[in-house]
Amino acid sequence: MSTFLRRHGRGVLGLAIAALVVVAAVAAPLLVAHDPLESDFALGLKPPGTPGHPLGTDQLGRDLLARVLYGTRVALFIGICCVLLTAVVGGLLGLLAGYFEGWLGAVLMRVADVQLSFPFILLALTINAIVGLGLRNIIVSLSVAGWVVYARVVRGEVLSVKEREFVHAAQALGLGRARLLFRHILPNVAPSIVIVASLQFAQFIVAEAAISFLGFGVQPPTPAWGSMLSESRDYLYVAWWLAAFPGAALALTALGINLVGDWLRDVLDPRFRV
């Protein structure tokens, strides 16, 4: 029991937190009676514990619990979209660049160098400022800034996997390229893709919140944690709860995902470091 806990304790805790977050997102309408956009000016800036509003209300009298819970949906939706997009596009490009080396690999790695000569958050922010605000554009911006990691990791793995004997054997048997790539090489690099995805997931959610916090990204009145925190700055002297709860929800979500990610990495590949 104790060795199980030592090895999998973090994973269990992380999965429990992640399950909580998913339930909050899926069941938001069942858990709270208020609409996150319904304002009531007579009830503005009420502290936590106000009857009917357990976490209090914001400057427009909107229920904070409803906004935090619906914010979970926004955060998870953005995180999942970004992870899927970057894993598929980055993974595919990395696979091709590793297998065909040549000019494709060279161009791809040069693009990766350019992207990596920039802090991730600044890159995503710049792209977002230029392509425009809103939910769809923030997903695009984060994905464009984030695919490089997969491409690099997958390419590196493919370079070594394709020299292994079973690949040569499959080639000697006359297998087509597509079959070789997707049936024999892809399963061998899949654990790395899963690990990178789990590490990137929390990063995407936090980056989205940071970008929305700076005034780009998701715009009010959509209940996104980042823009809620941004609005809370004006009321920090009078309403601490507006800053405390959305941020705590964000930190808890990131913690859950990170714990699961660490655990996956330990279980799937102890040597892996990003």
Binding site: P119, T126, A254, R273
Partner: protein, 307 residues
């Protein structure tokens, strides 16, 4: 060594050139910013004249060629908002960002390396448990939220620290802690795993076998050999600290490059955006070069690999 340095510097120039090109076309993609800077009731004639003056009427390749020609001489044009040389404006703000970033980096090292080493040496102890627990939390808590909570506690409630701006040493406290928290957490974890790896090496066994004090085994033999991953991460982080500064500077009204960049992006002040991109990517790639040179000193084996 000389050839290696030259080729690396050549690569730096190429990377900076390519990133400027990418951002140049991105900014032109988003439409021209002229309308944002002129009054609502402007005449069409004045609009054309203003565009003409800034060169927005020329075909894109012409604009690009002109941009490259001038940028090579360090001229990114005039800020549309401040009517000042864009690069000058950016360079003026750079020292504030570097001061903040380097102080945060020092804080990161001072906290993370001792915590990581202690956690490794006393593996499974209360120190290990607390240290790593704090590190996992530190990685999950977003800096800008930590910043807000610190402002609420230390400025609003207790009145001990200023909410933002620059001035004395007190102004450094919260921005540095916020900037360092995430990186210190990651570095502490990496230090721990790196030291644990080294402690299993045979030369550590030898050092112990010949009767060296444990303190010396750790300090002289284990630590220097654990340093490579730590230095790599520190190098990567120094660059990322520049990115983190974008958010931290905005929260604490710190007059640095990050805040200037955010404002320039909000105002679509593209000359300043391009100048900031230039300075960011030059700084970042030079830091990476410095990190690679440090390897050679830490691990002579990598020197031969290059030749």
């Amino acid at each position: 060594m000389r050839a290696y340095l030259l080729s690396r510097l050549g690569q730096t120039v190429l990377v900076v050139f390519l990133s400027l090109t990418a951002v140049f076309f991105l900014t032109r993609l988003g439409g021209d910013p002229v309308l944002l800077f002129l009054p609502m009731d402007i005449q069409a004639k004045d609009l054309t004249e203003f565009r003409e003056r800034l060169g927005f009427n020329d075909p894109l390749p012409v604009q690009y060629a002109r941009f490259v020609g001038r940028a090579a001489l360090g001229d990114f044009g005039e800020s549309l908002r401040y009517k000042q040389d864009a690069l000058g404006l950016v360079l003026e703000r750079l020292p504030a960002t570097l001061r903040l970033g380097l102080t945060a980096l020092a804080l990161t090292f001072l906290v993370a390396v001792p915590v990581g080493v202690l956690s490794a040496v006393r593996r499974g102890s209360a120190i290990d448990f607390l240290g790593m627990g704090a590190a996992v939390l530190g990685q999950a808590v977003p800096g800008f939220w930590l910043g807000l909570m610190l402002i609420y506690l230390f400025s609003v409630r207790l009145g001990w620290l200023p909410t933002g701006g620059t001035g004395g040493a007190l102004h450094f406290v919260m921005p540095c802690v916020v900037l360092a928290s995430f990186y210190a957490a990651r570095m502490a974890r990496l230090t721990r795993s790196s030291v644990l790896d080294t402690l299993n090496e045979e030369f550590v066994l030898t050092a112990r076998a010949k009767g060296l004090a444990e303190r010396i085994v750790i300090a002289k033999h284990a630590l220097k050999n654990s340093a490579i991953p730590i230095v790599t991460l520190a190098g990567l982080d120094t660059g990322q600290l520049l990115g983190g500064a974008v958010i931290t500077e905005t929260i604490f009204a710190w007059p640095g490059l990050g805040r200037l960049t955010v404002q320039a992006l909000l105002n679509r002040d593209f000359p300043v955006v391009l100048a900031a991109v230039f300075v960011f990517s030059v700084t970042y790639t030079l830091i990476n070069l410095a990190v690679d040179l440090l390897y050679g000193w830490l691990d002579p084996r990598t020197r031969r690999a290059r030749a």
